[in-house]
C-alpha cells in the first residue's frame, strides 16, 4: 500500500513540475511573440553555410540536415583514424623498445589531461590559421593544396559507367563471402587450411582490376587545382574541419590507447606463458591468443569512446565549422525560437546515442564467454 502511495506521489510531483515548466514556457513564449509549435522549422535559416547549397533564405530544417551531414562527415572519417592511432599508441606503450614506450606514455599523459576544446582552438588558431595565405598555397607537386583557409587533397573521381563498376565489385564481394564460407566449411570437414581471407581478397581485388580495365577506367584520380580563389578537383575541406578532426581524433585516441593497454594487460599472464610453451611465434601469440581475448574486453569501452567522440564534435562550433550545434546556434541567433531548436538538437544527439547503446548491448551479449 505504502509503495503504491509513494510511487503515485513521485509521479504526481514530476507531473506537477513538468506542468509548471510547460505553463511558464508557453506563457513566456507567447509574451515574447514567439510561436509555440514546430512551424519555426520552416522559417528561413538566415545564414549562409559555406560548402553547401544553403543560402540565407533556405528553411531551418534544411540547414539542420546539412548540419547532421557535416557532423557525420567528422564521425565517419574520425572513427577509423582515432581507432588506428589509439590502438597503435596503446600497443606502443607496452613495447619492449624503451623510446617507443616512453613516447607513447608521454603522448597519453599529456593529451588525455587537456580539455578537448583547448586542443581544437590550438589546432585551428595556432596551427591551421598560421599556414600561408591563399596566394602562397603549398601545392606539393600538384597532389595537395594547403593554405590557411582550406586543405584540398587528391581524391577519386567517377567517370562514365562508374555505377556499373560498383555493381560488379559488390557482386564480387558477395561471391567472395560465399567462397570464404565454403572454404570454412571444408576446413571444418577436412582440416585443410582454409585461407579464407586470401581467397576473399583475391576474388574482390582481381574482379575489381579486371572490371576497371574492361569498363575503360571508370574510377580515376583527380588532383586539386587552384584557379584564382577556388579549387577544382580533388577533395576539399575547410581548415576548421581538419582542425577539429585532428584535435578530437588525437584526444579520443589517447583514451582508446589506455583502453587498449588495459585490455592487453588484463589477459591473464598464463595465456602468454602457455602460448610460449607451445612455441608459438610472437605474431602467432598476439594473433591467436592475446589479441582475441583483449578484444573482448576492449570493444565495449572503445565504442563508448566513439560515442564521446560524436558528442565532442559539437565543440566544432567554437571554430565555426558548420555542424549541427553550430547551425542551431546560428538559427537561434537569427531569432528562431530557442526551445524548439534546442529540443531538436538534443533529440538528434540522443537518437545517435541510443543507437550506439543498442549496438553495445548486442555486442556485449555476443562477446560474452559461452560457459
Amino acid at each position: 500500500m505504502l509503495r503504491v502511495v509513494v510511487q503515485l506521489a513521485a509521479l504526481g510531483v514530476t507531473a506537477l513540475i513538468l506542468y509548471v515548466l510547460w505553463f511558464n514556457l508557453t506563457n513566456n513564449m507567447r509574451a515574447a511573440g514567439l510561436p509555440t509549435d514546430f512551424g519555426a522549422l520552416d522559417q528561413p535559416l538566415g545564414v549562409d553555410i559555406p560548402g553547401s547549397s544553403i543560402r540565407p533564405g533556405a528553411p531551418v530544417w534544411r540547414g539542420i540536415l546539412v548540419g547532421i551531414k557535416n557532423t557525420l562527415a567528422l564521425v565517419v572519417v574520425g572513427i577509423p583514424v582515432l581507432t588506428v592511432l589509439g590502438v597503435v599508441i596503446g600497443i606502443g606503450r607496452l613495447s619492449t623498445n624503451w623510446l617507443v614506450a616512453k613516447v607513447c606514455t608521454l603522448y597519453v599523459e599529456i593529451i588525455r589531461n587537456l580539455p578537448p576544446l583547448l586542443l581544437i582552438y590550438f589546432m585551428f588558431n595556432a596551427v591551421f590559421l598560421q599556414l600561408p595565405p591563399l596566394q602562397e598555397s603549398i601545392t606539393a607537386g600538384g597532389w595537395l593544396v594547403i593554405n590557411n583557409r582550406f586543405v584540398a587533397v587528391t581524391a577519386f573521381t567517377h567517370r562514365e559507367q562508374y555505377m556499373m563498376f560498383w555493381w560488379v565489385v559488390a557482386a564480387a564481394v558477395v561471391v567472395g563471402i560465399i567462397v570464404a564460407i565454403v572454404r570454412t566449411r571444408r576446413w571444418h570437414a577436412t582440416g585443410e587450411p582454409h585461407h579464407r581471407v586470401l581467397w576473399f581478397l583475391g576474388i574482390v581485388i582481381g574482379v575489381a582490376i579486371v572490371a576497371w580495365l574492361l569498363l575503360d577506367r571508370p574510377i580515376g584520380l583527380s588532383r586539386p587545382v587552384l584557379e584564382g580563389r577556388v579549387v577544382t578537383g580533388g577533395f576539399m575541406g575547410f581548415s576548421a574541419y581538419f582542425a577539429v578532426l585532428i584535435a578530437l581524433a588525437m584526444y579520443t585516441a589517447s583514451h582508446v590507447a589506455e583502453i587498449t593497454r588495459g585490455s592487453i594487460l588484463a589477459v591473464p599472464k598464463g595465456q602468454t606463458e602457455a602460448a610460449n610453451s607451445l612455441a608459438l611465434t610472437t605474431f602467432q601469440r598476439l594473433r591467436y591468443v592475446t589479441l582475441p581475448q583483449a578484444m573482448r574486453i576492449a570493444v565495449p569501452p572503445i565504442i563508448s569512446q566513439y560515442l564521446n567522440f560524436t558528442k565532442n564534435t559539437s565543440l566544432a562550433t567554437a571554430v565555426g565549422y558548420a555542424e549541427l550545434t553550430r547551425i542551431t546556434f546560428q538559427a537561434i541567433g537569427n531569432g528562431r525560437p530557442a526551445p524548439q531548436l534546442v529540443f531538436v538538437l538534443a533529440m538528434a544527439y540522443l537518437a545517435f546515442s541510443l543507437f550506439i547503446s543498442l549496438v553495445v548491448n548486442i555486442l556485449n551479449r555476443r562477446l560474452q564467454y559461452v560457459t
Binding site: 509503495r3 509513494v6 510511487q7 503515485l8 513521485a10 509521479l11 514530476t14 515548466l21 511558464n24 514556457l25 506563457n27 513566456n28 513564449m29 509574451a31 515574447a32 613495447s95 619492449t96 623498445n97 624503451w98 623510446l99 617507443v100 613516447v103 599523459e109 599529456i110 588525455r112 589531461n113 587537456l114 580539455p115 578537448p116 576544446l117 583547448l118 582552438y121 590550438f122 588558431n125 595556432a126 590559421l129 598560421q130 558528442k311 565532442n312 559539437s314 565543440l315 562550433t317 567554437a318 550545434t325 542551431t328 546556434f329 537561434i332 530557442a338 526551445p339 534546442v342 538538437l345 538534443a346 544527439y349 540522443l350 545517435f352 546515442s353 541510443l354 547503446s357
Partner: protein
C-alpha cells in the same frame, strides 16, 4: 626446513648501459629503425620548442596576467582573492593534516606499519602544481605576488603540520572548521561590496565552476543513483530516463539550453545571470554522471550487507544511511575524482557562449590591438594548456594513489 646447500643468487637483472641500449633500443631491425626515426622526431621537436621558448614575446602574458587569473575582477578589490586564497590554503592544509593524523592513529591501533609522509613526498606528488606556480610568478612584474604566494604556501604547510598533531577531540571539530573556512573564503570575495560570482572570470571561474558544479551535482546524483536501484518501478524508471537522456546529449547542448531556453521555463520576473545559468546546466549534466559513479559504488557493496541489516530489523532508510552508503561512497572516491577531472576540463565549454573563463581569455587577448594578427595563439594557448594539464594530471595521479590505498578493485 633450512636450506641444505649454499643458496645460489639469481642472475643479476641489472643491465650495463651498453647492454641496456642494445636490449631496450636496438634489439632487432624494426626496433632499431623505430628508435632512429623517433629519436630524430624528438630531437627536432625539442629544438623547435626550446627555440620557441626563447623567441616568444611574453609581453602578452605579462600584460594580461590578471585577466588570465581572475578575469575582470576590479583592480582595487584584488585583496579579496588573496584573503580567500589564504583561507582556502588554511582549509586544505588543515583537512589534509587531520586526515593524515587519523590515518596514522588507525594504523597504530591496528598495529600496522605506517609510512610517514615528508616534504620530499609532497614535492614528488605536487611538482606539476609548483611548476605552474613558478611559471605564473615568473610572468609577474612586481615582487609582491611572489611574496604573497610564498606566504600562502607557508600558511598551507603550517596548517598541514598543525592538522597532523591535532588531538583526537579537536580533530572531530576540524571538519566543521574547514567548512567554515571555505564559506569564509567565498564570503571574502562577495560580501561587503565585493564582486558577485556572476562577474568572476579567468582561472578563478573555472575552479569555482568545477567545485560548485560537483558540490551541487553530488546530492542530485546520489538521489538518482538510489532511485535507479529502488524497488519501486516508477521511481526507477524516472531516474533511468533522466540519467540516460542527459548522458546521451553533449554538454554544449545542455549549455545552449540553459543559455537560451531556461529563461522561458522560469517565472517571467526571474532572470538568472549567465554564470548562474551555466552552473544550472553543469549541475543537471554532471548529476547524471555522478549518479552512474555512485551506482558503481553501490554495486560494489556485497549483497550480504543489506541482508544482514534486514535480518537485524533495520528499516530501509537506516540500512541505506548506516550500512550501504558509507561503504558505497568510500568505494566511489577514485571515480569521483575522475568525474571531477572531466568537469575541470569541461568547464572550458562556457567559453563558447562568451563567458570570459581561462580558455576564453587565452583566446581573446589575441584580439587586443597590440597583439592582433601576430600569431601569438601558440603562446597563450600553450600557457592555458599547461595550467589545465597541471590540474588534471595532479588529480589523476592522486586518484590512482587513493585507488591503491583504498584497495578498490582488489577484492
Amino acid at each position: 626446513m633450512t636450506a641444505t646447500t649454499d643458496t645460489i643468487k639469481p642472475p643479476s637483472t641489472r643491465l650495463t648501459p651498453g647492454e641496456w641500449v642494445r636490449k631496450r633500443l636496438f634489439n632487432n631491425w624494426y626496433n632499431s629503425l623505430l628508435t632512429l626515426v623517433l629519436g630524430g622526431v624528438i630531437a627536432y621537436t625539442l629544438v623547435a620548442v626550446v627555440r620557441g621558448l626563447f623567441t616568444f614575446d611574453y609581453k602578452i602574458l605579462q600584460d594580461n596576467l590578471k585577466l588570465f587569473i581572475v578575469g575582470g575582477f576590479p583592480g582595487d578589490q584584488l585583496w579579496r582573492p588573496w584573503v580567500s586564497g589564504y583561507l582556502i590554503a588554511l582549509a586544505i592544509g588543515l583537512a589534509a593534516g587531520a586526515a593524515y593524523g587519523s590515518a596514522r592513529e588507525r594504523a597504530a591501533q591496528a598495529g600496522m606499519y605506517f609510512r610517514t609522509t615528508g616534504l620530499r613526498d609532497i614535492l614528488r606528488r605536487f611538482w606539476p602544481f609548483l611548476m605552474a606556480l613558478v611559471v605564473i610568478l615568473a610572468l609577474t612584474r612586481t615582487p609582491l605576488p611572489g611574496l604573497l604566494t610564498a606566504g600562502l604556501l607557508i600558511v598551507g604547510y603550517g596548517a598541514y603540520m598543525g592538522g597532523r598533531i591535532l588531538p583526537k577531540g579537536a580533530r572531530r571539530w576540524s571538519g566543521l572548521l574547514v567548512v567554515l573556512l571555505i564559506i569564509g573564503a567565498y564570503m571574502a570575495l562577495v560580501s561587503f561590496g565585493g564582486v558577485p560570482y556572476s562577474a568572476w572570470g579567468g582561472l578563478h571561474l573555472n575552479v569555482f565552476l568545477t567545485v560548485a558544479g560537483i558540490a551541487f551535482a553530488f546530492p542530485l546524483g546520489l538521489l538518482l543513483a538510489l532511485g535507479r536501484r529502488s524497488t519501486l518501478p516508477v521511481i526507477r524508471w524516472l531516474s533511468v530516463t533522466y540519467i540516460e537522456v542527459v548522458r546521451g546529449i553533449p554538454l554544449i547542448a545542455v549549455l545552449l539550453f540553459a543559455y537560451f531556453a531556461i529563461g522561458f521555463l522560469l517565472p517571467s520576473d526571474f532572470r538568472p545571470s549567465v554564470v548562474t545559468r551555466m552552473l544550472i546546466a553543469i549541475t543537471m549534466f554532471e548529476g547524471a554522471y555522478v549518479a552512474e559513479v555512485v551506482r558503481g559504488g553501490l554495486a560494489a557493496v556485497p549483497r550480504g550487507q543489506r541482508e544482514a541489516a534486514h535480518a537485524l530489523g533495520l528499516p530501509t532508510w537506516k540500512t541505506v544511511r548506516f550500512i550501504i552508503l558509507p561503504q558505497a561512497l568510500r568505494a566511489t572516491i577514485p571515480a569521483m575524482v575522475g568525474q571531477f577531472i572531466s568537469l575541470w576540463k569541461d568547464t572550458t565549454l562556457v567559453a563558447i557562449l562568451g563567458v570570459l573563463d581561462f580558455l576564453r581569455v587565452a583566446f581573446a587577448v589575441n584580439t587586443q590591438s597590440e597583439f592582433l594578427g601576430r600569431g601569438l595563439f601558440m603562446l597563450t594557448l600553450s600557457f592555458a594548456a599547461l595550467i589545465f594539464w597541471v590540474g588534471s594530471y595532479t588529480m589523476s595521479r592522486e586518484a590512482r594513489r587513493l585507488e591503491k590505498r583504498l584497495g578498490v578493485g582488489e577484492r
